[in-house]
């Protein structure tokens, strides 16, 4: 039960990061000074929003978002409602890492693409994502591990999950063994994700 709640929260965060964070991070990169869609206003605004969300202590962001969550989800309590702030932080988190990953693509590769007559869409899909794919995978790994960490505090809004389980039964009911057991599960799980991420990133890196 607790594990499935955690999986839902983390799973939806990963999906949001990929579907929304990736495009936003790409756009952030493209709007930078000297890049293809250079636009100071758009870049500064987007950059500021991402920074603000990322600098919020996560617990405060969750509480701060309660009215918005209630408006969107109809309720601010429960796993589904807890998933919304998770998704917001996930998008901000991953988009920043995407931007950084794309900055590592050699500028010459982009110049060559432009000289071939590539459109912005061509450049994104045939050059940037191809050249940055290992970094994008590693970023996703880092993000996912952060999402797991974030998900453990969702008990405050009734989100449940294994973090909540550990606090409720392990800490409040003095079942230290349960708490340790859950921590071990989380540690092993994080190790697995890290290992999978690094292995995949290495495999697809041909540079």
């Amino acid at each position: 039960m607790a594990i499935s709640e955690s999986s839902i929260m983390v799973g939806f965060s990963v999906i949001a990061a990929l579907l929304v964070g990736l495009p936003i991070g790409t756009f952030l990169f493209l709007c930078r000074k000297g890049q293809l869609l250079e636009n100071r206003f758009v870049f500064s605004s987007l950059n500021l929003i991402v920074n603000i969300i990322r600098s919020f202590p996560f617990l405060l962001l969750v509480i701060f978002m309660i009215p918005f969550t209630r408006f969107v989800m109809g309720t601010a309590i429960g796993t589904a409602a807890a998933t919304l702030p998770m998704m917001v932080i996930a998008i901000a988190h991953y988009s920043r890492l995407v931007e950084q990953s794309l900055l590592d693509v050699p500028k010459g590769v982009i110049h060559a693409a432009v000289s071939m007559g590539a459109s912005v869409k061509d450049i994104i899909f045939k050059f940037l994502y191809v050249e940055a794919r290992s970094a994008l995978v590693l970023s996703m790994t880092t993000s996912t591990i952060s999402f797991i960490s974030y998900s453990t505090i969702m008990g405050v809004v009734g989100g449940g999950g294994i973090g909540d389980f550990a606090i409720r039964y392990g800490y409040l009911q003095y079942r230290t063994d349960l708490m340790i057991y859950i921590i071990i599960i989380i540690v092993i799980f994080v190790q697995l994700i890290q290992y999978a991420g690094i292995t995949l990133a290495r495999k697809i890196d041909k540079r």
């Binding site: 071939m116 007559g117 050059f127 191809v130």
Partner: protein
Amino acid sequence: MITLHNVTKRYGTFKAIQSISLNIKAGEIHGIIGASGAGKSTLLRMMNLLEKPDEGDVIINNKKLNHLKGKEIRHIRQFLGMIFQGYHLVGNKTVFDNVAVALEIAKITKKDRTERVMESLRFVGLETHKDQYPSQLSGGQKQRVAIARAIVNNPKVLLCDEPTSALDSKTTTEILEVLKQINQQFNVTIVIVSHELEVIRSLAERVTVMADGQIYDVVDIEPTGVNKIEKGAAAFVEQLKSGGDTNLS
């Protein structure tokens, strides 16, 4: 083929190119030589509008490029190949895919791509390396891949920015030979930028000598041209030594 008419390029208040007019003839190999910072790359990059001139016109086949829209410029660029000192290959694509991407951009169907990519790789002598990645190739081989990528869409012009400056002299000779063949077999106009007199001398038929964002001279390489270029080159050395302001116009 390519005409620059009174083009000027500024970076802030600094004039990298100062009102240059130049005509590149169809089918010729045109060299551009000059000291570092003279504006050679900037001038070359204006020929496919990687840099937009602040003043003046870039005219290709009687079409003013700088008044075209993004999509039209992209279309024209597909017929102006370009190679660079640093090759700029995609490290995560195989040799084959690095060449094929130029055809993907030009919306050539997959069926036709394979044949044309292989033809292009055969021309530069790398068909057996098609499944390798750039990291597995030597500098000369990487530049060959870049050349294959630049010519696969049958360009009318090949723009070369210091294509051999990172290569040893033997490899340089080989690459220049490939460029010469492209010019002769496919009648591709070649513009080659270099600060090495040897490179320009062995390849170009006509040379633009640049200094301080201006044209010092445009000379034919045979029979007396070489001397003129050497004189031009000597002038650069003098400038560099004296560090003085030059007024060549």
